[in-house]
Amino acid sequence: MTPFDATSLDHQPGATTELIDHVARLLPQQAPLHAFVHHNTLHAFEHLPFTVAVETAGRQFGAEPYLPEAAYHRLRADGRITPADLAAVATGSGAPGADLRHGGADYVLRRLALDLDLPAGPALSWTLHETDALTRLHPQVDAVRRRHLLASGAERDLLTDLWARLRAVPVPTDPPTPRPARPRDRILEATGHDPDRLTHPLLIRFTAAYLDQGIAHWAMPGRDAGMLAAFHNLYGASRPVEPFLRDLPALVIDHTTAGRQAVDVVEWALDALGVLPGQRAAVIEATLLSLRGWAGMVHHLHRRPDRAPVSAPPARLTDYLAIQLTLDTLAARHITRQTLGPGATPADTDLLLAHHDRDDLGLRYEAFVLAQLMPVDVTALADPGVAARWLRTVAGCPELTRRRLLHLAYERRHAVTVLDALSAHQPDVGPPRAPAPAQVVFCIDEREESVRRHLEELSPAVETFGYAGFFGVPMTYQGLDDVRPRPLCPVVIQPRHIVREVADVQASDWWARRRAMGSWRFDVGSRTLARGAAASLVGGPLHLAPLLGRTLFPRAYHRWERRATGRQRPTTGRLALEFDHDEGWVGPQPGFTVAEMADIVAAFLRTTGLAGRLGPLVVVIGHGSASSNNPHEAAHDCGATGGGRGGPNARAFAAMANHPQVRRELAARGLPIPATTWFLGGYHNTCDDGLAYYDEELVPAASREAVARVRTDLAAACAHSAQERCRRFADTPDHPTPEAALRHVERHTVDLGQPRPEYGHATNAVAVVGRRWRTRGLFLDRRAFLISYDPTTDADGTVLTGLLMAVGPVCAGINLEYYFSHVDPTGYGCGTKLPHNISGLLGVMDGQASDLRTGLPWQMVEIHEPVRLLLVCEAEPRQLASILDAQPDLRRLVVNGWIRLVAWSPTDNRMCQWRDDGFVAYRPESTRLDRVTRSADAYVGRRDPINPVQVIAGVAR
């Protein structure tokens, strides 16, 4: 979002549309749930520095910018924030001051280290009036300080004096907070009646019915004419029961006879609500944000109708706003009439407003307690000047500031731990010498980190690589089962190619289809009157056995059901991948030309450093996630494929690299692929850690044995990875064997009652762009995106630029969405899953009529550690700086601190951190690195986050 002066538009006629467009950028950008894509929740604030952005957005959305202070104190107790970190952030926060009373770093440092739970509001008033807080020393005062304080006088006198002095001096005053612009807020403030409580139920019901994709059997009539027209059609001739809606039909007739378009209705309503010209932007913003989930969905379906689960009705945000403001006007008039009598206007409610003073008791009490706890000369506070200065000092480090500093300290400790480990790991590693017998390419996803590590431990000869999970194949894909094609590439790319799977051996799936249709019909019919009665009488008792099976033995039941119903897909297909038409094709191109395929494979070989080092077998593994009874199922899929499942991309890539003409073309470009090398595509289900492979029947005889071996190794690695995952599920035994762990995660996948089938990207924190041998053998606790990049073959930085442009925003989007959904699970996330209720096939509500909840559910993010992505990039700082200069989008993320960028020298071990406006050399705090023989030694029996350690079995030698 470019800085935009909304107020300047306010006075221009016809600027309302522009104002609405501007506010629309603040609305949640979440797509319907089946097309979930991770993105930065505060994307609209990326032009601001991170700390400013989260605090501004926090005020605007009424959400939390950081964790609560108590959470940081718990982290401090766990050693995840050390005194050194506090000192580092305190030094940066203010002028050094020796005297506590003058504030400065010394005060800040002491204040940050103080875990103090101070009462506020009514609790404060109770503490002051009903407890001995003003006559007894604070319970946290230690014995030494107590003796020191009481040396000069009695406890009661001392404290009474102190409180009197602190009450006597004036406190620094903030500018008074302006009155809210939105009429609803003013009416609520003045009368205690909330107009939103009248309007929201109707607005939610209408919007949900208008957007519904097929849960209702009866669609709203007249949807095709647009949202406002449908509203007018529905309510023009109604006789509403709610008193506040009494005038709605007349108003609708008034709007339609006056021929008011949506924008005109908005302007009419703003006038009717008495909104001053300068406040229109603020009112529109606050109005739309009051039900931001639904407003965002209306806007999203307008911009991206292709993402609708069935078909998007012609909804526009302006229509929605016109309806909301119409209802707001009616509600405001109704409440005004009720409280002030007939004839009063909404603006008159301001008359009811009582004037009250700003309450500064909280600050005085904080200063009072801190004077006891900190080594302050209490007697000197008798001087009003000193007391005033002390109050200023205390006011200078309010809660928000402390949370910001504590957060920075927390992130600092995280960075130090990771960077020190990377650095201390280097003396023990070296590049691989011979090409490996098997080279396995995974997605960069941090969930694959553990699979890669276990694979390298179990079969040290194998080499692994990380490449964005769409494997450079930007396609729209339609499998045999798919009803409609969907893009499988990062959201920033508009795919020009469409790849379809065509049936190879057409087997009859008539029976499977009948079964699926039958169960659907039963489900729909059971909700009606007559068929429902029959379904209850006959089908009801038959439901008991499946219900028992699914609840008691989910895994066994699922296996039995699958056996009983036969294979899921009896038809095998192949990809229609190759396109050999002449120039001049219009529309999406079905398949890729040989030259395009060669480009894709060449980019892969150059980026990963595999060019010239290819072994006999390269396995390319995409990933996705399947889970049951989970509306957020798609949120666990691959971010690099735009929230899809990356199997088809891996399959397509392998087919391209095996294509003889592509290989000829590549040889001509100086990137030969040996004739003995075979590429195999695969798919990893990150939820049940199952693996599937594509086109195995095409594997040449010479490679069969290698394929069989690597399949065994990969299956074992996945089982070990499942064991490692299980430590974070609190419902697993402490020491499961890999096999037991695999059974456990399989049960998570098929269990109807399991709200956390997997933890997804939770705990992600690091991204390393560089050669794998430099991180191989380092236990990174499934927290690091690993992106293969060979700096030695990229002198001019073009490969790195492309890589950072692709993975930077994707990884940051994932990381920041988890950050926000964790720090404010109800403001930015969608709260706990337990009451979720799918509405219109679009999203979830809390219970039966709430805003559409966006963000991630608490069960996905509960174990997350909210730190910004630490992007370690194997490149010289100079090169990185020039890339940033050339790429403003990337620069914005780095300079504004949405990503913590570190340059890691490809030739030696030097590291430089980006600070504000340039790279600053990083000096490791410690060179010590714990060593374990195997990964399991690091994690078995532990449930908490684990710092990096060296795994000897995995180190490249």
């Binding site: 009866w218 009157l529 009652g753």
Partner: protein, 430 residues
């Protein structure tokens, strides 16, 4: 033996309820697995006891008549619990569903701060429903009725940190209280007027009307339909057990069990049929326009409950019982897998081989266009029953307030009268 089994079926949940409540009251940290073990064990025992009773009934062991409808044993039975052809199957269904929901919730509510509270309330609800199912007298049924009602209201307000659930819980609570007037009337009338059972058609009509009034509130029958979708605020498993399966089923069950009391009065029978039929039509019309899974299922549930009520009114008791039990299992299962709806939609589209049409049911097309619009509005707004109810409450509140104002005026008049003045001036104190 029968008495022992009956006592076990009800005493097990009672003991667990007391134990769990004590743990919660004393702020004891109880592990999730222990809580689940207690609840699952409890209802396992209850189910087993009822199952043995059922088996004994089926093999003709004396101790409980297999015929439906002997709910008013008069005498000095200290524990009026009965197992017969109606109560045993219904109690077994209730126990099994509570057991399944407890098993389901052991993972669904894992790590939720309210784990103990949820299971405590679930146990209470199961206890209440079992007591109603097995009660041999109206007075005991009322006890179960109230326990089930209170706990289910607390489950609606489970997420007490948000406003919506608490408001909905309060709304349901109000409806329950109003409906309970009917039950209390029936108990008092029974006790004081006809201690030996209804003697005349008038007795039967009064008792029947009071019981119907109670059932209308509990079963969300017209005009109380509005609260059922609002009850979908709690965690999914509690919505499934209370409002999909068991709680609403208690209403037709009460009418079924008490049928000997009102059978004499044809008017009551027809009133029950009328209420049931009207509700069934209302619910099926409204359900068609609901756009969220849980509301749609709530109205689907209501449609069938209303039909069962009709069947009871018509005297088709065995059909009603089979319908009630089949429906409870079906709807409970459907609500538990309500979060699968997105997934099911995709499976359905694949089976179709093309995008699903947005709306399949076209029964409403039979209506003329203007009526269609009216009917759609009626369906979307759920017949505006909630709004009417709130307006009624508003009017009642306004009435109370005007009484209060009158009182205030008189008070001022009396207090502010100056000492020298013999008579109050007209209008003083305005």
């Amino acid at each position: 033996m029968t008495a022992l089994l009956l006592t076990t079926a009800v005493a097990a949940p009672l003991i667990s309820l007391v134990a769990l409540a004590a743990a919660a009251w004393l702020h004891r940290r109880v592990g999730e697995s222990l809580v689940t073990a207690v609840v699952v064990g409890t209802f396992g025992v209850s189910c087993a006891a009822v199952a043995v009773l059922g088996a004994r009934l089926a093999t003709g062991t004396p101790g409980g008549g297999p015929d439906i409808g002997r709910w008013w044993p008069v005498g000095s039975d200290p524990l009026p619990l009965v197992a017969d052809g109606a109560s045993a199957p219904f109690a077994l269904t209730v126990g099994t569903l509570v057991l399944l929901v407890a098993l389901f919730s052991r993972r669904y509510l894992h790590r939720d701060p309210g784990y103990l509270r949820f299971h405590l309330l679930l146990t209470g609800f199961g206890l209440g429903a079992l007591v109603v199912a097995l009660a041999g007298s109206l007075a005991l049924a009322v006890v179960g009725w109230e326990i089930a009602g209170t706990t289910s209201v607390l489950l609606i307000g489970y997420f007490s940190e948000r406003r919506g659930p608490v408001e909905s819980a309060l709304h349901v609570f109000t409806v329950y209280r109003v409906a309970d007037l009917g039950l209390l009337t029936a108990v008092v009338y029974w006790h004081h007027v006809t201690p030996d059972g209804p003697r005349s058609v008038t007795d039967a009509t009064v008792l029947g009307a009071a019981l119907l009034w109670a059932a209308m509130g509990k079963g969300a029958l017209l005009p109380w339909c509005g609260w059922l979708p609002r009850a979908m605020e709690g965690p999914t498993p509690s919505s499934a057990i209370c409002y999909g399966a068991v709680s609403v089923s208690l209403a037709p069950y009460l009418l079924l069990r008490s049928s000997p009391a009102w059978a004499e009065s044809a008017a009551v029978g027809w009133a029950i049929v009328a209420v049931g039929a009207a509700t069934a039509v209302h619910a099926t019309v409204v359900g068609r326009a609901q756009t969220d899974v849980k509301s749609a299922l709530a109205y689907a549930s209501l449609t069938q409950i209303a039909l069962v009520t009709c069947e009871v009114g018509l005297g088709w008791h065995r059909l009603a019982l089979a319908h009630l039990i089949g429906h409870a299992i079906l709807r409970g299962a459907q609500l538990l897998r309500a979060p699968s709806r997105l997934h099911d939609h995709q499976v359905h589209e694949r089976a179709l081989g093309r995008p699903a049409p947005p709306a399949r049911n076209r029964a409403h097309r039979l209506l003329p266009a203007r009526t269609q619009l009216w009917a759609y509005r009626y369906a979307l707004h759920r017949g505006d029953l909630d709004a009417r109810w709130e307006r009624l409450l508003d009017h009642a509140g306004a009435g109370l307030r005007s009484l209060d104002r009158l009182d205030e005026r008189w008070r001022r008049l009396l207090v502010s009268r100056p000492a020298g003045l013999a008579r109050p001036v007209r209008g003083a104190g305005r």
